[in-house]
Symmetry: D2
Subunit: 148 residues, 4 copies
């Protein structure tokens, strides 16, 4: 489980005066990329090896509106893992008072760039992720996370 | 049921070489706004009356990668309607060959701008939407749409 | 000189209630890409050949605010051309009444992807662009365009 | 003069493999908003008082490509100030080695939201900004900044 902190930008708002709902999806990505970085996965090396990791499914439950200037925490953990896919769960909270503002999940599938067929993650990268996944399984904080 | 056509822009891609997955969520909005416009709902008038319509839930199933330069059709219909909420379903297809590239759904909840409490759509606007919803219910093309 | 038409999207607005000013820069790109397409330049083929075309300079003069739902025309022409660079000029107008809403310019430099050094466009692609550039030079409509 | 730090996000890249050039314009905004916040200017209060501050001019010189994962510093200072407008200058550098990656400038004009006419900043807010502007004038680090 990792947490990243973001400060909401003016350009992330829309004319309703709150954050546009596509940004929660982008913040999930920020947290997921940081999780992978901390796990030791190099996305450039994956892509140089011809592997991409497109999103196959996203869902997000928007619980409270997020405003310009809010400081938010995006927490993520691995909910499912195989050599062909990763499912991450997310929670976005207001740093000031802990209010949960959104929850969600994403599924990435490893894919051969050249023809779009499903790829299997190499043994070394998979071992790194599996270690993190097992730590997440043991973590009581992730057990109770809703996955929107 | 309405369909809008978009030509995929360069800035909508990411370094994996395909469309970034937040754009499908944005295209759903383009289609939803056009549906509301054709239904006779004026979003400026709603907002001037103190009503906003934030998204409460989004989901998207990404079936095929979308590329720069693709011409896509985004089809949407009202899947559920009450005076407090609208649920839309979506399908994104490649215009050239009809391949389905994504499906999804969104839930909007009518909300009082001043305090964030749930609002009820006024009778006139609701009647306009209800008429469209009933046409969608009778449309055999929307019945079979997966809602990702 | 070519013109593309866009309908302003809800997600392109910000909490000031108007289009966020980064979108004019993105619309310039939409027009530039369409210009290149009509000129017979294939951006995928360029990139497959190891050539990228990053932006080196952008400027934009914002003359009138652009609103959600506006239909806009983005007109562009080649202002300068060499085998190493392209300078495009732009004008964004309101389709309804012709009001000029923004003007601007961009400079792209052809670059070798592998090391970032300046590249020279191949003879065939350059000839295609030169033909368009010469037509733009003769066009009285582009002569008077401000380049913001 | 203030500096904000950003870590480049995956979604900020495009299919050329580098940051899309509209993001530098957005990062200028992040720095400008932080400058205003540190100066004691409350953008919500301004807007509640019927004043908006749309961008009238932007320019950016792109010196080096910015990549996913880079940590960048965005430095900004007030280059010109009156009660009707603010001109900010910017420099984006790579935190690791100090390489300058972009420079730029923006002009905001204070505007009455209701009719789009030019507004004049209230005395209290103007005094706060003027104090910062005078500090910037005295700062030898801002004197030498190119304003792209």
């Amino acid at each position: 489980m990792i947490t990243v902190i973001e400060k909401v930008r003016f350009y992330e708002t829309d004319m309703m005066g709150i954050v546009h709902h596509s940004n929660q999806i982008r913040w999930f990505e920020v947290a997921r990329c940081e999780y992978l970085r901390q796990a030791g996965i190099d996305l450039f090396a994956l892509m140089d090896g011809g592997i991409t990791f497109p999103i196959k499914h996203v869902s997000c439950e928007y619980i409270s509106p997020i405003n310009y200037g809010d400081t938010i925490e995006i927490t993520t953990y691995l909910h499912k893992l195989s050599r062909a896919q990763m499912v991450f769960a997310y929670r976005i909270s207001n740093q000031e008072d802990g209010t949960v503002m959104a929850t969600g999940m994403t599924q990435n599938v490893f894919t051969h760039k050249k023809d779009g067929t499903v790829a299997r993650l190499d043994t070394e990268a998979y071992a790194k992720l599996k270690k993190c996944y097992e730590e997440d399984l043991k973590n009581p904080q992730t057990g109770g996370m809703s996955i929107g």
